[in-house]
């Protein structure tokens, strides 16, 4: 009789423990899967933008060319996709960017695609404390030199609700004048 009582008590305790774990996991799932405050930044991208593109060398801007970009929800509230293009470096540039915030990694994740190559580049980073700049870091493989995983920095500067700038920095260049591309977006 005593044995039977002990077994029942153990089973009850185990069931209670399992119930507690499930609650915790459900809370975690809610925390990491639902869009939050950080996803509100993505709304800043939405809309149609005129685009001014320039190459840079040692801090000196090259000739500007113009294009257009349109940003829409890729997955509503979670991921934004921006598609755009224009003439650049003598060719017709076409690009797509997908931006989202990973609650678990606690960082913004970006996917960069363009007609300039066939690579699918990604970057990851955070907002600056003032919330005005998004800094992400990624790597590229340089097919011209055979180098792999060269560090690249992507910067979005939100000047106002109607203007933002996007910069590409080739970090192995050195400590200064790392910017190689610059885009200025103005809301249409």
């Amino acid at each position: 009789m005593t044995r039977l009582f002990t077994l029942a008590a153990c089973l009850t305790l185990m069931a209670q423990e399992q119930a507690v774990d499930m609650q915790a996991m459900m809370a975690k799932a809610k925390k990491f899967t639902a869009p939050g405050e950080n996803h509100k930044l993505l709304e800043k991208f939405l809309g149609t933008w005129t685009m001014e593109m320039r190459g840079y060398m040692k801090g000196v801007a090259g000739k500007a060319s113009t294009g257009e970009q349109t940003c829409t929800w890729y997955v509503k509230g979670r991921f934004v996709q921006c598609r755009g293009g224009g003439p650049l470096f003598g060719m017709q540039l076409e690009f797509a960017t997908i931006i989202g915030y990973d609650n678990f990694k606690q960082s913004y994740r970006v996917m960069h695609l363009s007609s300039m190559d066939t690579s699918l580049n990604t970057s990851e980073g955070d907002l600056t404390p003032d919330g005005k700049t998004l800094l992400t870091y990624g790597t590229i493989d340089e097919y011209l030199t055979g180098e792999h995983d060269k560090m690249v920095k992507y910067v979005w500067r939100f000047d106002s609700a109607d203007q933002m700038r996007f910069e590409v920095h080739d970090l192995p260049i050195g400590e200064q004048h790392t910017q190689v591309m610059g885009f200025t977006f103005r809301r249409r």
Partner: protein, 318 residues
């Protein structure tokens, strides 16, 4: 300024080199076969090539590909310093020398001879006298006459010499000299440009000899004697167009005075030679692309990528 050097000065220097070499060859090999005015024209073509290369700023068409890495910035900086020093030094030297001439109104026989000759040339010119000069010099529209020279040269000799100086005024040789000086200042690193400017000074004198010789009343014997006499007195360099430059031998000028006017066919043949060498200049232009790109390699691999992609797009567009 860095971009100006890589996109303009260096390509222009490289592109003009074959023409400068050809002009030098024609000038050296055929000095007495070709009229000095034709030789001056050939040098002028080379000068134009220096001032206006085939593709202005075209070697590095995209500023992205145009700004060289840090180490190559030293070269444009050196060029700029050299050019600035040269311009400044030349300007100061010219101003001082000209101020030192202290001209006074020319009176006497020389002025009378000058006045009688000026209408013949249709030139708006004046003559002044200076006791700081060894030989006659023309600066712009003004002929500087050494004080006392009229006592050492006969009237006939003075007439011949003044014709030569008036030819400088009519030909606007002062502007030509200024143009070549500007080219030397910009392309000071190019030895052929220095040499060309020096040759042009000599050729200008030959041109004026020729112009004076073609006028009625010219006497080669008197003129030759005047030249040799003045050469004996000249010791110092003077600003402007000097009748006699102590650094340059008179041999060629004296020999040219003996010759009859050249046929223009020789000049046309020389131009034909230029036409043959023109593709060579184009080749040099292409080479200058390669050289400039090599020295102006971008610092980042992405920049290199953009440069290559741009060139690829250009190739595909052709």
């Amino acid at each position: 300024m860095t971009h100006f050097w890589w996109a303009w000065v260096l390509p222009a220097a490289l592109q003009a080199t074959p023409l400068l070499l050809l002009a030098a060859a024609l000038d050296l090999l055929l000095p007495r076969l070709l009229d000095p005015r034709w030789r001056a024209g050939i040098w002028l073509l080379a000068a134009l090539k220096l001032a206006a290369p085939f593709e202005a700023g075209g070697v590095l068409p995209n500023p992205v590909a145009g700004v060289p890495p840090a180490w190559t910035a030293f070269v444009p900086a050196t060029w700029l310093c050299g050019a600035a020093l040269l311009i400044l030094g030349s300007a100061v030297w010219f101003r001082r020398q000209r101020a030192a001439l202290r001209p006074v109104e020319c009176r006497g026989l020389s002025r009378e001879v000058f006045r009688s000759l000026a209408p013949e040339f249709g030139a708006v010119a004046r003559i002044v006298e200076s006791d700081r000069l060894d030989g006659p010099v023309t600066i712009g529209q003004t002929v500087y006459w050494p004080a006392g020279l009229e006592n050492r040269l006969s009237e006939a000799e003075q007439r011949q010499v003044l014709r030569h100086e008036l030819a400088h005024v009519v030909r606007r040789d002062g502007w030509r000299e200024l143009g070549w000086s500007a080219l030397v200042a910009v392309f000071w690193f190019h030895p052929l440009v220095w040499w060309a400017a020096r040759r042009m000074r000599a050729i200008r004198e030959e041109c004026c000899d020729r112009t004076a010789a073609e006028l009625p009343g010219h006497c080669a014997e008197t003129y030759r004697r005047a030249l040799l006499r003045v050469l004996g007195w000249v010791h110092a360099l003077a600003p402007g167009m000097a009748l006699v430059d102590p650094r340059m031998p008179l041999t060629n000028r004296l020999a040219l005075l003996e010759q009859r006017p050249h046929s223009h066919w020789r000049g046309i043949a020389a131009l034909a030679a230029l036409a043959i060498v023109w593709p060579l200049a184009r080749w040099a232009n292409q080479e200058s692309h390669a050289v400039a790109e090599w020295v102006a390699r971008p610092p980042g691999s992405l920049q290199l990528r953009y440069m290559v992609l741009e060139r690829l797009a250009e190739e595909n567009g052709k």
